[in-house]
């Protein structure tokens, strides 16, 4: 508990530096390339294009869902996934990425995941905006349900930070763990209901297990906003499950941090 409090205080104390670092992190990622900022859009566009092609032309599935073209249904799951996937590997690598910093300049290690989470969030917000434009351009109705997007953004950020704190520290001491994260990346993508609806899967037990995955919850949430038109409070059980997983990561991250706080900079 004391450690958790300390972590929160550090974030408040270093808020300006964290924001500055997030900005720098973002600029660094895209600068230097000829298309620079274009890549922030182009890269996801290519990925979505490939999957769209595979499903509609190759597999010839991809029928409209709930009256929305499959393409729109697909991107409403893909856009949050880009953020989540960036945090999945990026969070695990965050402490290493900023080792040069925390080893030389006084900066609390516990604030590093927040830097990565914020910089990815900025890209995500831009992509979401673009997605809304695409919806409008394709004549799909935009509804009041979009008003709950900030709620999901907050959950994504919180989960990203908690995961980053936990996984970053484990990565710091175990290369195996990082390899595990990287190699499970594709599995996570296919199990999180980006390409198919979990609700149409046969077998209650299987559905239950798949829905324990917090990634599924976030992706479903985006679809609630764009496609299904459901408020988040209409699914309190799913939210509860998500929060339990979130608290588990917070607990683990904080517990480990209470052990390593004084030594982590020596290990990185």
């Amino acid at each position: 508990m004391k450690t958790l409090w300390k972590i929160i205080i550090s974030h408040v104390q270093y808020r300006n530096q964290i924001l500055q670092l997030a900005k720098t992190d973002l600029i660094k990622t895209y600068r230097g390339a000829l298309l620079s900022w274009g890549w922030a859009i182009l890269k996801p566009a290519i990925t979505i294009g490939v999957y769209y092609f595979a499903f509609t032309v190759g597999l010839r599935t991809g029928k409209p869902i709930k009256g929305y073209p499959y393409f729109l249904w697909l991107i409403s799951g893909f856009i949050p996934w880009f953020y989540i996937s960036a945090m999945y590997t990026g969070g695990a690598y965050s402490l290493h990425k900023y080792a040069f910093l925390v080893k030389k300049i006084k900066f609390p290690v516990c604030c590093v995941p927040m830097i990565v989470a914020l910089s990815n969030m900025i890209v995500h917000l831009a992509l979401t905006l673009l997605m809304i434009i695409i919806f409008i351009a394709m004549g799909a109705p935009i509804t009041i349900y979009l008003a709950q997007l900030p709620f999901y953004w907050l959950l994504m950020l919180m989960m990203g930070v908690a995961w980053g704190l936990f996984s970053g520290q484990v990565t710091a001491v175990s290369k195996d763990f990082y390899q595990l994260v990287r190699s499970s990346f594709t599995a996570l993508m296919w199990l999180s209901g980006i390409f198919y609806q979990i609700s149409t899967i046969k077998g209650t037990a299987l559905r239950f297990i798949l829905r324990l995955n917090p990634v599924t919850y976030l992706i479903d949430g985006f679809r609630y906003c764009f496609i299904d038109h459901i408020w988040f409070w209409e699914e309190p059980l799913s939210l509860l499950r998500f929060m339990l997983v979130y608290l588990l990561f917070v607990f683990l991250g904080v517990k480990i941090y209470s052990r390593t706080e004084k030594t982590i900079t020596d290990v990185l």
Binding site: T24, K103, K104, K106, V173, K255, I256
Partner: protein, 244 residues
């Protein structure tokens, strides 16, 4: 009696031990369980001292005596296992001056990057920027990414930043070996200037001659213990004798 200045660096019974694990598996285990089958290496052993504002102190010790660990604790990048370290004011550390840069950013951006991390406002940095750039002698390289710099250039920039951000405490770790002869001379002049402005100064070196040049007080560290604390002349003599 002379007026006593405020204590800006205080070490109280500071001990720092490093856990040496046999392998990553053991280290991983230590995250969740309090296992203690790691070997311990004591880097700093029950160290206590005070440094007051405006003092110029040399820290003498052989390689591996624990000097760097001590400086890292002062600059806040590592923490004591036992005991307490209290530091008041903005610390500007020249520990491996070339470190702490973001290699993808240009030299100029790194000035802001580092400055803001130290809690200096953007306006203040704008004011300092010309001095830092001029001092570093990097010319148009200042707008190139740091990854294209030679080690000499990095050190020059590092020194320029740390010497020009008006710190309260400045730590120099063998940094006078930075760059060529002319630049070294310039660094010396700058340090003397800083010293005259009443900044607290810590100087880590093997060279007792250099130490005597800048400092009035000397601490001698051996195997993590403070073995001498006093006038720089006596400290230098003690340190020289230790070698024989």
């Amino acid at each position: 009696m002379t007026e006593e200045h405020e204590v800006v660096i205080q070490f109280r019974n500071v001990t720092k031990t490093f856990d040496l694990f046999k392998n990553d598996k053991q280290r991983l285990k230590s995250l969740l369980f309090r296992n203690t089958n790691a070997r311990k290496k004591v880097a700093i052993d029950n160290l206590s001292f005070d440094i007051r504002q405006g003092e110029a102190v040399a820290i003498l010790g052989k390689n591996g005596a624990g000097k760097s660990t001590m400086l890292k604790m002062i600059s806040g990048v590592t923490f004591p296992t036992v005991g307490s370290v209290r530091v008041t004011g903005r610390v500007s550390a020249l520990l491996e001056v070339s470190g702490g840069f973001d290699p993808e950013l240009s030299g100029r951006e790194n000035i802001y990057f580092r400055g803001e991390l130290l809690g200096i406002s953007r306006d203040e940095l704008k004011e300092m920027e010309p001095d830092i750039v001029a001092f570093s002698e990097l010319g148009s390289y200042i707008d190139m990414p740091i990854r294209t710099y030679s080690s000499g250039m990095k050190s020059k920039l590092g020194f320029s930043i740390n010497a020009n951000i008006r710190p309260d405490i400045i730590i120099v770790d063998e940094a006078l070996s930075v760059g060529d002869k002319d630049f070294r001379a310039k660094c010396r002049r700058r340090i003397t200037e800083i010293l005259n402005s009443g900044v607290t100064f810590l100087f880590v070196t093997h060279s007792t001659a250099e130490a005597k040049n800048f400092c009035k007080r000397g601490l001698v560290i051996r195997e993590g213990k403070l073995v001498f604390d006093g006038d720089i002349k006596d400290a230098a003599a003690f340190y020289e004798k230790m070698h024989v």
